[in-house]
Subunit: 395 residues, 2 copies
């Protein structure tokens, strides 16, 4: 198994050193060919438009998902915003190679994971992975239909967000509930859920390795001054104040990565991708870079810590907007970006370890998953959680 | 070594089961009698008024500390607020036994820690602990003076806040800098700093043990439904948005405790003790209890996760205001509070392990400590950090 993360561009612009991990670096996975699968591993994620033409539908699905975003008169305002934002978002996707590489990376991860599981857990083999995206193909509904035809004995719903957030993992699980709400759940399948894994040691180890790789590229004399900036998608403060676990789980991953690195460098956790006028959790990635530059800092590594694949926020926001454009504007000497976990062998071992432990010793659903945020008012969560409690206690 | 945490009151009021861990439970430590100490371990914490008469001075020191709180015309408004709040805070201290037990617990911890260090690290013995409080006796300045007389070879500044916050640990370190700014640092001492330890496995293990102790008290049939509510002192959102590491380090401790417990119960991280009109990090402990009660939850354990001793916020806010008064008001069936680490044997082993590793393999100061928050505008931090960099590179 090889780590097929490639750096395809090295730019030196006005003294700004920056690396880019373009979408084309994602390897083409082989076609899955599993006869009579016994165990299905459903890889749950948000997904991204595979082509420019899919951008509008993708935005529309986000803008009308009330678990992700709440707008006034959402059924009208959502489609309006989606339409209006399409050209600008299409431009961004065209700048990273014409589409999101999330599907390619997810397939690659699924393939490597199932290969390992077949060897390490013959009693649950053959394993087959399924991709269930929330906003892009393959969509959750289509995947669930496909699964039904395969006659599985066991299905593991495996969130690919290491840290749980109601807007992401929560939304995907609510979508699964919604699909089955008015349908018969296929009989004979034993279902279970892996909903979060922010403290898994091999996740921390993978991210630490990604950072070490970038640190090596800095001149020896300044290596120790490089600021490691962990960056995660921000969320609105009203989500934080509702009691969403996301910020605290992201914090946990950060601390464990630094522990793995022996606290070798200064570091900070910052938040990116805020949209809209409401207050979001800060400090923000771009503003923090500005703040550090004001303090005389000149060397940085940006580290995506809450998404396991390259995607628009790493390839465009971090690589192009921050490392390249903002780096140039601020006169930063060296700024690099650590690759997402992608198919790093340690990461694949981590995914495998998580599923193996889950299959062997459960529990099939966690008490935390079944408990709503202290200030949750989302009735979808209430209904979905009771439904999953029942689903995961059958058989 | 015994765990001398005692529950001194068991109340059953209108169906609310609650435990209280009164200050009198802190054991009287023996008088330190170290001849020619070689290594000083400076236990840094905020402190609390030992008697009712000390309350005003304590509040005054807090209200005029610009690292802790920033007020307009602070030199006048600070003393005014301190005076005005004194009677109400005195009443609270009188309700928990007439004073804060922080000093007693800290001395007990220091004593047990140094006993262990003397055995396990004879090459750095004899070890002597010093208590350096920020707002109550023994004050940092007085302790530093005492240390100078002892002719130490080595001094370890050991923050007793597991999670770093600029308002707490940061303020104490700035106070040490301020003390030495216009004074000669005593020659011959090799200084070093332990500034944070939120992910130490024995801290997680101690808190997990404290939770297990409380879980045992719930009837078997409802044990699995008990919500574990980790609670930490909140901070203003402007501190969060400046990039303070505190929320993410608290989050890390929470996740590691739940991992230690095998995610046995539902849990949540909430924030307490907000003061003033500005927005603070939520959700708040009392409001979250109300939220969960609305969802039909009836069994809780409150777990202090960011302070290692019983103090006013555990003994009064959690025990009296939330577990007792609010519990009764909300008709909660069972609410218990996990004890602070205090002198739990696993916790003392943890403190020992932290100091031992620090003495053996350093580093004497961490790159994280030396780096300011991305949006720091506090010139005291800037000066203090450069001074500590120098202090910890001497010898």
């Amino acid at each position: 198994m090889n780590d097929s993360h490639h750096k395809v561009k090295q730019n030196e612009v006005s003294g700004v050193q920056c690396t880019r991990h373009l979408s084309s670096a994602a390897p083409q996975p082989s076609v899955q060919n599993v006869k009579d699968p016994k165990t299905g591993i459903v890889l749950i994620n948000m997904g991204g438009p595979g082509t420019i033409d899919e951008v509008h539908d993708y935005l529309l699905k986000i803008m009308t998902d009330r678990d992700m975003i709440q707008l006034p008169v959402q059924s009208q305002l959502g489609p309006y915003i989606a339409r209006r934002r399409t050209p600008e978002v299409q431009k961004k996707y065209s700048e990273i190679g014409g589409g999101s590489p999330i599907l390619k990376w997810t397939k690659r991860q699924g393939e490597l994971l199932c290969e390992k599981l077949d060897v390490l857990s013959p009693e649950t083999a053959p394993h087959k992975y399924y991709v269930a995206f929330r906003y892009a193909n393959p969509l959750t509904d289509v995947t669930l239909e496909e699964m039904e035809k395969d006659g599985l004995e066991r299905a593991v719903l495996f969130s690919q967000y290491p840290q749980y957030c109601c807007s992401t993992t929560g939304s995907s699980f609510n979508a699964i509930y919604k699909y089955y709400k008015d349908r018969k759940v296929p009989p004979g399948i034993k279902w279970s859920i892996i909903d979060r894994w922010s403290t898994h040691p091999l996740l921390a180890k993978t991210i630490a390795e990604r950072i070490r790789t970038e640190l090596k590229e800095f001149p020896e004399s300044i290596k120790k001054d490089v600021i490691i900036m962990f960056t995660a998608h921000s969320i609105p403060l009203k989500v934080v104040n509702r009691g969403d676990a996301y910020p605290s789980e992201v914090g946990a991953t950060v601390q464990l990565v630094m522990k793995e690195l022996g606290y070798c460098n200064p570091y900070s956790l910052v938040w990116q991708s805020k949209v809209g006028p409401l207050p979001w959790l800060g400090p923000f990635t771009d503003e923090s870079l500005k703040g550090y530059v004001k303090q005389g800092k000149k060397n940085f590594i940006l580290v995506p810590v809450a998404f396991v694949n390259e995607h628009i926020e790493t390839l465009h926001e971090l690589d192009i907007e921050y490392c390249h454009d903002l780096g140039k504007e601020l006169g930063i000497e060296n700024i690099r970006r650590a690759a997402a976990p992608n198919d790093h062998p340690i990461f694949i071992d981590g995914l495998t370890d998580i599923v193996l432990n889950h299959l062997k010793s459960g529990p099939r659903i966690s008490p935390k998953f079944l408990t709503r945020c202290p200030h949750c008012t989302n009735t979808r969560c209430e209904m979905s959680k009771s439904w999953f409690a029942q689903l995961c206690s059958q058989q």
